[in-house]
Symmetry: C3
Subunit: 470 residues, 3 copies
Amino acid sequence: MAKLELDPDRLFSPNEAERAVAKRLYAEVRDLPIVSPHGHTDPRWFADNEPFDNPADLLIIPDHYIFRMLYSQGVRMEDLGVPTQDGAAVETDPRKIWRHFAEHYHLFRGTPSRMWLDWVFSSVFELTDSLEAGTADAYYDRIDAWLKEDAFRPRALFDRFDIEVIATTESPLDDLRHHKKIRESEWLGNVITAYRPDPVVDPDFEGFAENVAALGALTGENATDWRGYLNAHRKRRAFFKTMGATSTDHGHPTAATANLSEADATALFEKALAGRITPEEAETFRGQMLLEMARMSLEDGLVMQIHPGAWRNHNKPLFERFGRDKGADIPRQTDYVAALKPLLDAVGNERDLTVILFTLDETSYSRELAPLAGHYPALRLGPPWWFHDSPEGMRRFREQATETAGFYNTVGFNDDTRAFMSIPARHDVARRMDCNFLARLVADHRLPEDEAKEVAVDLAYNLVKKAYKL
Amino acid sequence: MAKLELDPDRLFSPNEAERAVAKRLYAEVRDLPIVSPHGHTDPRWFADNEPFDNPADLLIIPDHYIFRMLYSQGVRMEDLGVPTQDGAAVETDPRKIWRHFAEHYHLFRGTPSRMWLDWVFSSVFELTDSLEAGTADAYYDRIDAWLKEDAFRPRALFDRFDIEVIATTESPLDDLRHHKKIRESEWLGNVITAYRPDPVVDPDFEGFAENVAALGALTGENATDWRGYLNAHRKRRAFFKTMGATSTDHGHPTAATANLSEADATALFEKALAGRITPEEAETFRGQMLLEMARMSLEDGLVMQIHPGAWRNHNKPLFERFGRDKGADIPRQTDYVAALKPLLDAVGNERDLTVILFTLDETSYSRELAPLAGHYPALRLGPPWWFHDSPEGMRRFREQATETAGFYNTVGFNDDTRAFMSIPARHDVARRMDCNFLARLVADHRLPEDEAKEVAVDLAYNLVKKAYKL
Amino acid sequence: MAKLELDPDRLFSPNEAERAVAKRLYAEVRDLPIVSPHGHTDPRWFADNEPFDNPADLLIIPDHYIFRMLYSQGVRMEDLGVPTQDGAAVETDPRKIWRHFAEHYHLFRGTPSRMWLDWVFSSVFELTDSLEAGTADAYYDRIDAWLKEDAFRPRALFDRFDIEVIATTESPLDDLRHHKKIRESEWLGNVITAYRPDPVVDPDFEGFAENVAALGALTGENATDWRGYLNAHRKRRAFFKTMGATSTDHGHPTAATANLSEADATALFEKALAGRITPEEAETFRGQMLLEMARMSLEDGLVMQIHPGAWRNHNKPLFERFGRDKGADIPRQTDYVAALKPLLDAVGNERDLTVILFTLDETSYSRELAPLAGHYPALRLGPPWWFHDSPEGMRRFREQATETAGFYNTVGFNDDTRAFMSIPARHDVARRMDCNFLARLVADHRLPEDEAKEVAVDLAYNLVKKAYKL
């Protein structure tokens, strides 16, 4: 049976000169607290502090990184316990689901999921053999037993993971009750929300008009009127700030922005509410809303995040059977230069605004994003995102963005995850890869080591706090 | 005079830790038989087993990698003996052609052609000095003499190269007489065909309507009728299977697919036959035929290969003088996400279908192809293709595809070549680069060495056999 | 206080085997003279040989690499002394400007600007402490004092930098008086011009019609007539040749070319002069002018350079306040395959024509540019340009272009700069990175070291002289 061992120098260059530097840099950042400014953990966990259910419910069923890979190799979603839209029966025995996963664990070789999971198995659950078919049951039993311990309840893990602050992401229609409960509890963990208005700014979102109506009801504004609608946003943003929010988040298909006259914006809004908007007009409306959000950010100080470029739910039959977020979101070519111009002409030179750009199209790093962020005062670059939150993805980001944008137009790391157990592993990979990148610059004499140390700490801790106002 | 020497550790990292691992991994795969599931060798060679003509006819005149580079630096195609369309005179003395090549051999520094050729010179022809103007004649004489030996006839080389199976590529209109002759001979070499229907599915192909008529004649179907035409395909596919075919191959300008009603497909087909089809409609028709081929693959089990993205015959004057395949095919940006959606919605979730995607646009590796193959059960990624069948191309493929698609959504190596002599060198480069990539993962502790050994064997041998059903 | 030290092995691989080779290769090229075939130094400097003004005027105010980075992090352009279009007051005290720069010097960590500047500080001004807020004044004083010395006048530095030849870039409307004065002086420095016709070939250029009129006046041609206009170009090109020009330069938004009939070209030209040309027509007209320039190059032997792909002056408010070239030029996706086809069909097979292609879209290296240059006799690839004139940019260029285009379809290095002080540093970075790339090929046995030495010298010296006819 193969042993599960995490090498203390993992991800550092095999070259001894570089590795020695990387280790010294990493020693400066390894024990810094985790600042997680953007992610998708469930605030209910920290509000209620109930034990997690079982290994499959915790680690497999909700993780689209994992089931998409298994699915791609012929494992049925039903056999992984992924619930169907119509309630058709799926596997309900978590141990059987776990065995399916264990039998296919070799599929993750060379992927970041493998690194994150091995860290969870080794560091959180103190497992010492590798996961494979033959160890599946032993794994299941050990993890299941741990999950029943108080030390593995959400708040205890939060504290053990040394999380200084974590942001969740909520719709404007969310009442934030879990955040309220956390804040009113005696627990000191800092869990904040973030304003994600897609359901009420995207005409293509399921139930858009109803969502806008609900927004109006929540705020006492006439939200079917353009000005009332904008006011309703202002009020919800203010409410989100009372629950710690320092940022908004925008997950659009493209990076398109617009700067319409009030009359034109009003006309589009009315078409959207009436369900008569064309796809092109919907794109323009979302773009207009990015500009409206930027203007509100100038008023209320919330930092904007733009996450464009995914074709959501690309697999139609799978979407119909299992719904959203099932590993079938596929990136596309994404233009930023023309798309952002309306927004940048309006507010790009504002030094008090921060707009953080993410991409799924790595070709934009050196061609568009670094030149944009290396010029406009309002722009910063988010870390490598989603598919690119990986060692090679991080290496490419630093290699392709740094020479034009420098380090100080970037904002540290986002884990962007709902996989709570692996959050420390994800931050650790980012810290190691940044230290490794800096070590190369030191080893080939592009940067003195004392300056690299300062940068390492900035990338792991200071920049994220500054950019997200945490 | 410089010596020609192949270092046994060539292409492995200069870092000693990585190199040591790479050597151990390579020892596991170096002597595995060659499985060549896709290429363009001439089945006549193996059917007739005649000696190859002379060094120029064997190594230069048919190799567009070689003459395109010489041409780019001012060598005339005529001086390389490349035949003209109108029969205008070109150089016919193979020794003179060889000298032109030798004088310009420095142009290939840093290219894979240089590595492949040096391997052929050293390992096949046992030459020990470097090729240059001063050694041109000695090279010519040595190679020419060897080619007259029985040990250098096609079948002997096939056996010496330890080729377990090789696929050629033929049109549906081909009678496969060479394959028949090979199968009926006492020779045991496994040479199989593959179904490449471009001449009868691409309305822009020279003589499309005549080709379809010929297809009807061959199959006894009324191939000018849409259903008869599809039946004719079914019959030819079945016939190709009797000659060993396990795959089809599709070399379209883009990855566009379509899912038309039978009435619409019929209408397009009739326009195509009548020569009244527009370029956009021709694109749709080719896309529809990809879906028809996928449906037939579900019936008969043939694996599909899609090779999109080249602007064929970009150089108009050269095309008019010398014809197709003269080194003037230029890659373009290629979208897969929208293009493949009709096909994927129809058959992407089929676990019994295998569609292997290739690309000439490396930007699609991390952005589109790995996310698609890392989700859809029917999809696999072909190896780096054509211009990217090279050490750096292979490195980029693994670095950019693995973290999202893993290793097991890839299918091993294709040599895709008509340059028979260099087939072992090409597979050897792929094995070395894969071992080198894995060695990096081992050396920086992303993968245990025992698992890397398993992956190395899978990449060199098992995955190609499984994906292509060989 | 941190020391400023330039390691003699900077930029070479930390791997000892590679580094040893790189050092041996670099020893062959380190002391070769600088050949600078394309750039933007001011010929007045060499004509008048006046001392440079002060550190801020020399190193900060004219350098868009520097002020764009400072601006991106909230430093006001006014505080850097960048003059406004309307004459509104800006900082005029060069010492204060210098202090702003020094306080933000950490922003340049990891950028090529940092490497170039440190070289200037250390090698030209013999400074031994790092630049930071605490050393700002000492730096200012030292540099300011040196600039008053005769040894720091332009001609002395030119000689000290061992510049064999440098090209500046001028409009056809320029009288080249500075070049004339240099040629008539007793100084032997070889400063040549290059023909940059954008103001008279781009209908969107400010004052296009007036510029064409001026061109007519200068040449005695009726330049409002299409044939007279082309003749005027011929005459100015001939005049530029008397001032040493061997090349033309074309900075278009895209790589579009066209091959119109004379009637159509004439009609577009007349629309352009009348200010009635649409954006699409303007694009076609610029494309047509590239073909006209290529035809003239076949007559007069001038080498063509095409620099496409920047969205100039992307920041509208900044452009309105400060004008052109203020760090707000942003690259875009750039197609070459379709764009260049009209030109290539017309003259791509000419062996006596040289067209050097540059790109800001690195995705084109392996996909489009290397296959094009690896085939067409008229094409060569320029070095990594602008944002990509950097260690990682150079590494990507060689890794992505060499395997298809080889080394001999590239043309050595361009500094492309107006930052005279850093020209030796820029060439040195290029030589180091090329030697480092070659060292990798030697260390992993892709290229014998004796051949790599030959290539290193070709890349540093021979290829640029041959390609630019210097």
